[in-house]
Amino acid sequence: MRFAVLVFPGTWSDWDCVHALEDLGQTAERVWHRETALDSYDGVILPGGFSYGDHLRCGAIARFSPVMSALERFAASGKPVFGSCNGFQILCEAGLLPGVLQRNASMQFRCQPQRLSVERSDTGFTNTCESGQIVQLPVSHGEGQYFAPSEVLDELEDAGRVLFRYHGNNPNGSLRDIAGIMNPMGNVLGMMPHPERASDELLGGTDGNYIWRSIIEHWG
């Protein structure tokens, strides 16, 4: 597959995502936020970082970047869009996913390995996992506390759109331990953890590859 990895000023997981996808034999190109066309790509990644220095709110300025209207069209076309960390925050700010990410309950940044439960295995993002499987992916954020009104949370749960939950400990105080959610069409996933940091045995784990391989399996 050919992936676009979006780069906003302040993005820093762009290269990490490119490397993780290339290591799996995919094509991945960094695409500057001023681009206005994404049609030639098969998938779009919104990586982690501090786009615009988190000024105002995480992702609040990035959502006005020129590339965002192309992203909305891309998402509407049914092709896969995956945002992690700041990418998740941007997807929420842009309204492609519901809810917001708040300061961690500890009021401190947290960077650590984190266990997650995979809630469903019948999606485009998790089809190489078992349902209920525990995977380990690093988290690294200061504002990852997922918040949404309870009716929105109920709706997410009822529709099976919660794909990942923190397991064992909740690093940021997210409501209902939510770590990653999907849009109703099932082609946009946002999560705080970083699969690209768990895509290499040398760095201590490859559970991130479940997500990349699922995407490739489903859309490739």
Binding site: P9, W12, G48, F50, L202
Partner: protein
């Protein structure tokens, strides 16, 4: 600011003491400046000279000692002090670039911003050379954390380092946190950065030939940080809080864009540039004057062209502002528009503020008016001092004290002593700190914080880099020569524990007021000790920073030379960690065995925490240290080691416990008859490491087999504890103090 005699006066007329105090220039130094100029300086010149001659920029007391350091070998590509950082050839067409720097005084006044801008400054030093920063380390010292004020400093500094570093996408992979009484009024915050670049692609901080255009890029210039270099060069006192305007405010987002733009510019269009330099201490003054010095040229600066964020700034303020996130690019005249467009892509504005001239004079204009015209050679020739050195009699008496005068440890107390040591902030797990730092971004951190040193891979290369910092201040206070040599030895041991060969050192010299004989003794002896240790290990000093005048009303800080060590590991996939791994693995003690002289307790954590004494002799055996390093590197290259951890703070018992806790597996170690139990368990004799290996591996040429990895207890001579209890003491100490 207007009481100066007009330029051209042959003799120095009156200048207010207050004015000189503001720029920390002595009257003798003022007169020296007048003599060199042949007249009294203008106020802008005086400000520039004051900043460039400050201890912080001019190294007045430390420079005459630097000749002790070994600075060259076949790997080293830079001359000490000539560039923003030191460069080391790491093979296969790549170079590493590194430097450590202090931001002590700003952090004492404003911990978050002080520490944050310390990170920003050291990162700019690395990318000013065109290198991509790949790792940060932070060496921190605070007063006892039971004190509310020290806790506020500690939590603020850690948050500031994270707040800035995390935003840049550079992993913070290591460092230290040490607590000691003397740091209460004056914490130490040293930041180290490591970068990499393809061989031959580095750029110098030079101004280039006459006609070269000087462009400023990045942040607009404000009044923040005025006299920061001066502030760093005097003791802290009650009025220091009023110096808050001397502390800069950081904008890491701007720095990230500036870094990406500068690294890309040097990578893709090095031919557009003559040189690149960051605006650090003393701002535009030091960056442009030092660039001119390297090019043996003059410069002409038009202050009206410097983009400002405040109105009504004087030329003096523009020249001395220490606003962060600014760089000076020396650009070939035909590429000014290209450079402007390049930065524009990143949302950054580059503006021509001057040019290089051929008359050797640094000229500053405010519109038509020339407000400074002094030879570059004068501005860059601060006086050098070698004061009287005399060992402090109290330190001497404490070093002469014999630990053998204490009763030996009662075996029945061994469990309790180990638990108390594991919970000492200097030994306890630093997870509370490093979990607030992104230590994984870049996906190159092979060995993450918590082991002896961090290990980074470089994509496409077989070899990797190991880095750590060490600065055993307490030992340096007792014996500056041996203690500082020990700093180098511990750092070398730490990188060697990962399997890396130590290759180069960057150092940060944190001392009190060197004008006092006892302090100058500490400084000069420490440099001698470090230099000899560096020679013994073949690790030249490639860069560094001196931070003097670290004193508060409570007195001077413990002399704390911090060593940043770089090692090269020949196969990064074989990096060794601290944690014991598998049931049945055998534990070996490399270097000397259980039997240790009681003098090895000198300056130890055991004496400090358990006996309430900071005393005793400090020993160093450089030959034994070098042999241990060889043994560690060779054994891990042969694939024999499953874990390695050096014996330092807390001695053998703590080293074994830490490896067990990190591996979540117990140990069984028997201790034969020994003369002193306290020295065997908790003595801090150097040149030792605890390693583990597959059963049947023979390491008897380099060490002694002492036990086996097994079960869920720490059983070590008279010590017998559940692993969980030891782990809890070690893990929960900092959270308990700081949350």
């Amino acid at each position: 600011m207007t009481s100066y005699p007009p330029p051209g006066d042959a003799l120095p007329a009156d200048v207010d003491d207050e004015v000189l105090a503001q720029i920390a220039l002595s009257r003798d130094e003022y007169e020296r400046a007048c003599e060199m100029l042949g007249r009294a300086p203008t106020d802008v010149e005086l400000g520039m000279i004051g900043a460039l001659w400050s201890e912080h920029c001019g190294y007045k007391h430390s420079r005459p000692l630097f000749h002790h350091f070994p600075t060259e070998d076949e790997r080293i590509l830079t001359n000490l002090g000539e560039e923003n950082a030191g460069a080391i050839d790491i093979g296969d067409g790549w170079v590493a670039v590194m430097k450590i720097e202090s931001h002590n005084h700003p952090s004492a006044i404003e911990p978050y911003e002080g520490a944050a801008t310390g990170v920003g400054g050291i990162v700019r030093d690395i990318f000013a050379m065109g290198a991509q920063p790949i790792a940060l380390l932070d060496s921190l010292r605070f007063g006892p954390l039971e004190d509310r004020r020290n806790r506020r400093l500690c939590t603020g500094v850690v948050a500031g380092i994270g707040g800035y570093g995390n935003c840049l996408g550079i992993p913070t992979v290591g460092g230290e946190l040490v607590v000691g009484e003397s740091y209460s009024g004056n914490p130490l915050v040293n930041a180290m950065c490591l970068g990499i670049a393809p061989h031959g692609s580095l750029i110098s901080a030079t101004a280039g030939p006459p006609g070269t255009q000087l462009m400023i890029v990045g942040a607009d210039t404000g009044r923040d940080g005025l006299h920061g270099a001066t502030f760093a060069s005097v003791e802290l006192d009650e009025a220091s809080a009023e110096r808050r305007p001397a502390v800069q405010v950081g904008n890491p987002f701007l720095e990230k864009s500036l870094m990406d733009a500068c690294v890309g510019l040097v990578r893709d269009h090095r031919d557009w540039l003559e040189g690149l330099q960051d605006c650090g201490a003393a701002g535009i003054t030091s960056s442009t004057v030092e660039m001119a010095e390297r090019a043996r040229s003059g410069i002409r600066i038009q202050t009206r062209h410097v983009p400002r964020r405040e109105s009504g700034m004087t030329p003096y303020e523009v020249m001395l502002s220490e606003s962060q996130e600014r760089m000076i690019a020396a650009v070939k005249p035909e590429h000014v528009a290209d450079v402007e467009a390049w930065f524009e892509h990143w949302g950054l504005h580059a503006e021509v503020i001057g040019e290089v001239t051929d008359d050797g004079i640094a000229r500053v204009f405010d519109g038509e008016a020339e407000v400074a015209a002094a030879p570059v050679s004068v501005m860059t020739s601060p006086p050098a001092y070698t004061p009287q050195a005399e060992r402090d009699s109290d330190a001497r008496a404490r070093a002469d004290w014999d630990p053998g005068s204490l009763l030996d440890l009662d075996p029945a107390d061994a469990n309790d002593v180990l638990l108390r040591l594991l919970a000492s902030p200097n030994i306890a797990s630093k997870r509370w700190v490093y979990r607030q730092y992104d230590h994984m971004v870049g996906t190159n951190t092979v060995v993450t914080p918590g082991s002896d040193a961090a290990v980074l891979r470089i994509r496409g290369l077989r070899q990797g880099l190991a880095v750590c910092t060490d600065g055993p201040g307490r030992a340096v206070e007792l014996d500056p020569y041996a203690g500082a040599a020990r700093a180098v030895a511990e750092a070398a041991r730490n990188v060697a524990c990962t399997g890396a060969r130590p290759v180069a050192v960057t150092d940060c010299l944190n001392f009190a007021n060197p004008e006092r004989a006892a302090i100058y003794f500490q400084l000069s002896e420490s440099i001698r000790g470090m230099a000899n240790a560096c020679r013994a290990f073949g690790t030249p000093v490639v860069s560094g920073n001196a931070s003097l005048y670290n004193e508060s009303e409570d007195g001077p800080v413990t002399p704390t030379p911090v060593v940043g060590m770089l090692g090269i590991i020949s196969d990064v996939t074989r990096a060794v960690r601290m944690a014991f791994r598998d049931d049945g693995d055998e534990i070996w003690l490399l270097g000397s065995g259980f039997e240790q002289r009681v003098s090895s307790l000198g300056g130890s954590e055991y004496l400090s925490v358990i006996q309430g004494r900071e005393a005793g002799p400090v020993e160093i055996d450089l030959e034994a240290e070098a042999a241990l390093i060889d043994a560690l590197v060779e054994a891990s290259e042969a694939g024999l080691l499953k874990s390695a951890h050096d014996c330092s703070d807390g001695g053998l018992a703590v080293a074994i416990s830490e490896s067990a806790i990190a591996g979540d597996i117990g140990v069984e170690v028997e201790i034969d008859a020994i003369s002193r139990l306290d020295a065997a368990l908790f003595g801090e004799a150097g040149a030792r490491a605890v390693v583990s290996a597959e059963p049947g591996t023979d390491l008897s040429l380099i060490g002694t087999r002492i036990g086996v990895v097994r079960g869920d207890r720490i059983q070590l001579g008279p010590i017998d504890l559940p692993l969980d209890e030891a782990s809890d003491a070690w893990e929960s100490a900092l959270p308990r103090l700081l949350d």
